[in-house]
Amino acid sequence: MKTNKPFPDKANYVIIGGGISGVSVAWHLAKKGAKDIVVLESEYLSYGATGRCGAGIRQQWSTKANVLLAKKSIEFFENAQDLLDYDDDIEFKQEGYLIVGTDEEEDRAFKENVKLQQSLGVPAEFLTPKEAKEIVPHLNLDGVTSATYCKTDGHLNPFKMTDAFYKAAKKLGVSFFTHTKVNDITVKNGKIESVQTTKGTIEADVVINAAGGFAQDIGEMAGVEIPVKSQNREILVTEPIEKIQGPMVISFSRNIYCQQTPHGAFIMGRGDDRDFSQSMHSTHQFLEAMAKTATRLLPPIGQLRVIRQWAGLYNFSPDSQPIISGSQDVEGFYMACGFSGHGFMLAPMTGQIISEMVLGEPSSVDTESLSLARFEKGAAKTMEQNVV
């Protein structure tokens, strides 16, 4: 990630965060002809939640905003290889997401979800346990009462996707500075003035906060209170085997997501009730709980060895829907955060929406339900339910 450019003292647009959201915003801005864009990353590209995520891409959400963002993002991913003229393979595999339900309450919610998803043009379907087993033959149906399935959901390699955006943005003139930490942001007369970093100060009118699990800290520097909280989430990967599972299998009640990557390894994770923190440590308790959950639902996985485990941060918003928004208090301050565990799969739309806002173009989606202001108006109305 070497750059020959000296550290700039001025820029038009400063993007904080070199994860999928940051690189997508950078590319979308540059593609629309914006000049003088700088991306700052405190570690290396995809160091944070992007490089630690479960690599799933799904449209089966419970809120209209999330379904639409995911659907439009998948349309981008389907063409990303060409759009970004990427010379490597982004490993986009559309073999579906199978969501497994285990009680009547979930069955009812699933039917509602599928109705919403279908109304928005997403090919999701409600399945009986028997139909679910036809899609994933090694699924243990003990306790399973229903399922939903969407065949166009799938898997995408987070490192390759970030790299694809990075390379394409760089070709369009975007400057990237890794290992560059933002220490402070200066706001004068309600406007962004400059960004102080470990490599120097950049004057800029526009700052885009795409700092993932650290977005609230960046907000604080600019004097903008963002009501997001970070939570440690753990994940593991097994040794590779020949393909046995096409779709990602997830269950909200069992607390699991589990997929076999194109490489053959299984990646799986779960969440538990933890205090909010920015810790990215792994625990042995996760390993045990994960193994029990996974081998109950997908027994053949019990034969595999775990190669590695790690952790990352979910950045939760109060309604578990993203905040893709400007600020009413600080002119020039934009944010893409609070993705609540699914920022990777929504990144194309994040880039598109932020670039439209920043450049003053009409928005291609209704941004009301994504705005920071929705929380000030007395709690957002709809809560995203489908989060593992």
Binding site: E239, P240, I241, E242, I244, G264, P300, Q303, L304, R305
Partner: protein
């Protein structure tokens, strides 16, 4: 290949342990790992690289590297360098990443 004489250590004669390698009957010694028994029989190729199918042999010897993974009694991805040899084990070369049912 076995060390038979050593200036400090002594090796007592051990009982022969029969096993099959890709269907062929061979003998190791009591106390062998699967990989050491194969090595003693001159078999140095234990697996193949996944993409280019190039030969892979005895490497880390501590169960970390997957270079010695073989199918043992029907079980794929067995780390033969740390798995003790047992009588009449059915040891086979593994094609690809291993089939799990």
């Amino acid at each position: 290949m076995r060390i038979k004489a050593h200036p400090i250590l002594s090796f007592e004669a051990q009982k022969a342990v029969p096993f099959t390698y890709d269907g062929q009957t061979l003998y190791g010694l009591k106390g062998d790992t699967i990989a050491s028994a194969l090595h003693a029989n001159g078999i140095k190729k234990l697996s193949e690289s996944i993409h280019r199918k190039r030969p892979r042999g005895f490497y880390c010897a501590i169960g970390n590297c997957a270079s010695c993974n073989m199918v043992v009694d029907g079980q794929p991805n067995v780390r033969t360098c740390i798995t003790p040899l047992k009588e009449h084990m059915d040891i086979r070369s593994q094609q690809g990443k291993g089939q799990v049912k």
